[in-house]
């Protein structure tokens, strides 16, 4: 089976999650590679989540929130913006390509925008290739014994 990008998406509940939902109900086509986690606000976004996601096996992480000025909780997305800039630096230091993490703004009515970003980002990750940051990838433990434990 050829490799498919695995992307974690952290979406804020009020704008981006609703926007992505709209994309779905509008039957817009975008790749199924993004696996979404719902947060109430991008302000909840701790950099730890991003690194955990990469460590868990994600090849890319997409963070999506309300447009600046429109945050449901007033300023949460500005906090996310500050942290995102920091994360980009740390990712570089860790040797992860900074393009594997992206912060976008999608409002509740912008289903088409979500679909477009989803397409773009998946294509980017596909070009960058798999990350192989998981424990097993680094330590090279036998995947069959891991699978036996997992079940």
């Amino acid at each position: 089976m050829s490799w498919e990008p695995k992307i974690a998406g952290f979406l804020c509940n009020w704008c981006s999650y609703t926007g992505a939902d709209l994309a779905g109900t509008s039957r817009m086509q975008y790749p199924p590679n993004i696996r979404v986690i719902r947060l109430m606000c991008t302000g909840r976004m701790d950099p730890v989540f991003i690194f955990k996601a990469f460590q868990a096996g994600a090849d890319g992480v997409l963070l999506s929130g309300c447009h600046p000025g429109d945050c449901h909780y007033q300023e949460g997305n500005f906090k996310a913006l500050r942290r995102a800039l920091l994360i980009k630096h740390v990712l570089k230091d860790l040797g992860i390509h900074p393009d594997r993490f992206r912060l976008i703004w999608v409002s509740a009515s912008e289903g088409d925008r979500w679909a477009r970003f989803a397409n773009e980002f998946t294509a980017t990750i596909r070009t960058l290739g798999p990350l192989h940051l998981t424990r097993e990838a680094i330590l090279g433990e036998a995947s069959s014994s891991q699978a036996a434990h997992a079940t």
Binding site: R35, I37, M40, C41, G43, D46, F49, K79
Partner: protein, 591 residues
């Protein structure tokens, strides 16, 4: 104490009381013109004469300026008194036949015409009748003596020194106020007397004034800067005449702190500044008004007493009402301001009612959605209002010919007949867009209420909850949430009030389970979270040196949870454990 009798009734008065005061205490009618309770009696009009019995027979004496004497026997309504009054009134009628105050007194005494004719006959309704109340007020109450009387006999008149503009006049308006005929008027710099005003005054006209006749509460206020009592210590007439003693010059503004549970924001709207749309000539051309100014003109308490007048005092022959100035406009506001179509129709109806003017409406669409609105529109069509479907492009002055002076041309495309038109009108009324009020961003920040893209406050849900905001306990009503008319505003306001009462009567508040909670044992008191919270829901407990989240204010956004360096804050519903587990689950190998 002095004893005297008037019309057979005895009365005991203090020394110094005038006959007029005594008669009024007995509720007897004595007519006066030049008398004013706050001024020293003058005895100019001679109307207040009464008959007093003397050893030599009878004597006629004025009542306003004669003090009561012991044993006086006075009559206020004998044939001699009536004849004296008749003489005075006929003389006045001969000279000032149309002054209302004199006519009323003449009617009271059955006088319809005068046997005299006067060389100085003045037929104006507002002629000066030389009662000199204005002069006496300026001298006694105001203290500046800016006007006085000059010349003698038939040529006596009230004037300023040498007829020049008096440098001492403080424009208090007291003279205009006491004038019985309206001869004195307080005017603005343009010295206009008739016609529509250049500006619609909203400031005080006297130092003590009612803001509007529909003010709530309907209580006069005193403008500190122009009040003579507050500035110089003189006058104080309002305090003297106030029977309940409701005037207190010592009042100062005070700041009051009130503990509030719920808030209803009803800060209203403002009209767009249509000077920005220079093509319509507002502020540049005469007789171009905004709807609010025109509304003021139509009001019975307005500057023209509800008549529709041009600046030159004449009635317009044609009025053009232009819809959608700044609304439904890519360059300004894309939304529709909701109420303009209906008030424009109302204006048309009132103009048709009060003048002979032709009325033109320049509209894009007619939005007549409420109860009875469409029927009202049809009524107007029957009244002959001319509806032109096409947004007016500009308002220009008519051509070079002197006959066209003052005429405005409204240029538009009449889309129903497919032609460009230039419609000549005398007056143009613009319907400006509704805008959120000037302080909307400050108010929004103060109460953490967001705004929708059009700038008005954001409701929790446009269909299912238009009167709440995302913050519990803060509600919206009226035009601050979006342009709407009066019935909709009332409905929204009553609904919001009901929601507030519901919470108050319930006695408890349900708190959303998704919120933050600080674990006291882990908190290091760094206070980083305190300033991050947009709802100021985190407070620092000084004696325990830890921070604490206010459950009622916290909205559960999680910003503090992510920021806490000690990991001391639990974001209920979205804890670290939960999210980490989700991430693991997302990328777990399928079996």
């Amino acid at each position: 104490m002095i004893n005297l009798s008037i019309n057979g009734k005895t009365i005991e008065v203090r020394e110094g009381t005038t006959i007029l005061q005594a008669a009024r205490a007995l509720e007897l009618r004595i007519p006066t013109l030049c008398f004013h309770p706050s001024l020293k009696p003058f005895g100019a009009c001679r109307l207040c004469v009464v008959q007093s019995q003397t050893p030599r027979g009878y004597e006629l004496t004025t009542a306003c300026n004669v003090p009561c004497a012991e044993g006086m026997a006075l009559e206020t309504d004998t044939p001699h008194v009536r004849e004296a009054r008749r003489l005075v009134l006929e003389m006045m009628l001969a000279r000032w036949p149309n002054v209302q105050a004199i006519r009323e007194l003449a009617d009271e005494f059955g006088i319809t015409e005068s046997r005299f004719s006067s060389e100085s006959r003045d037929e104006h309704e507002d002629a000066c009748i030389l009662c000199l109340r204005c002069v006496r007020t300026c001298e006694e109450l105001v203290g500046v003596c800016a006007i006085s009387y000059e010349d003698r006999g038939m040529h006596r008149r009230v004037a300023t020194p040498f007829d020049h503009e008096s440098p001492d006049c403080i424009v208090c308006g007291a003279c205009a106020h006491v004038c019985l005929t309206g001869h004195i008027r307080v005017m603005d710099d343009a010295r206009r007397e008739k016609g529509a005003p250049l500006e619609f005054p909203t400031g005080p006209t006297t130092s003590i004034y009612l803001k509007t006749l529909q003010a709530v509460p309907k209580v006069p206020v005193i403008d500190e800067d122009s009040c003579i009592k507050m500035q110089t210590g003189g006058c104080g007439t309002c305090f003297t005449v106030c029977e309940p003693g409701a005037i207190d010059y010592e009042q100062k503004p005070e700041e009051v702190e009130v503990d509030i549970g719920q808030i209803l924001i009803a800060t209203g709207f403002q009209l767009m500044d249509v000077r920005k749309l220079t093509q319509y000539g507002y502020g540049r051309l005469d007789n171009v008004y905004t709807s609010l100014e025109f509304e003021r003109m139509l009001n019975a308490t307005g500057p023209t007493s509800s008549r529709v007048l041009l600046k030159n005092g004449q009635e317009p022959r044609a009025v053009g009402i232009i819809h959608c100035i700044g609304s439904r406009d890519e360059n300004h506001h894309r939304y529709c301001s909701c109420v303009c179509c209906m008030y424009a129709l109302k204006f048309a109806h009132l103009v048709k009612d009060r003048t002979q003017a032709a009325v033109y409406q320049f509209y894009i669409d007619l939005r007549a959605t409420g109860k009875g609105y469409e029927e009202f529109y049809h009524r107007l069509l029957d009244e002959g209002v001319i509806m032109i479907r096409g947004k007016a492009a500009e308002v220009v002055e008519a051509g070079w010919d002197k006959r066209d002076e003052g005429i405005l041309l409204v240029r538009c495309e009449d889309t129903l007949i497919g032609r460009f038109r230039e419609v000549p009108v005398d007056m143009v009324v613009l319907c400006p867009a509704f805008e959120p009020p000037y302080d909307v961003s400050e108010v929004g920040r103060m109460f953490t209420v967001s705004r929708s893209p059009d700038g008005f406050f954001l409701e929790r849900h446009p269909k299912l909850d238009p009167m709440s905001t995302m913050s519990d306990g803060i509600y919206l009503a009226g035009a601050c949430q979006g342009p709407k008319d009066i019935p909709a505003t009332i409905a929204q306001a009553q609904g919001a009030a009901a929601r507030i009462l519901q919470l108050i009567s319930r006695g408890y508040v349900e708190v959303d389970p998704i919120r933050a909670e600080i674990i006291e044992e882990l908190c290091g008191g760094c206070r980083m979270c305190n300033n991050l919270c947009p709802y100021t829901a985190i407070e620092f407990i000084a004696d325990k040196k830890v921070s604490k989240v206010n459950d009622a204010l916290c909205k559960g956004c999680g910003t503090c949870v992510a920021a806490c360096p000690a990991g001391a804050i639990t974001g209920k519903g979205f804890t670290y454990e939960q999210i980490m587990a989700e991430i693991d689950g997302l990328f777990a190998k399928a079996s």
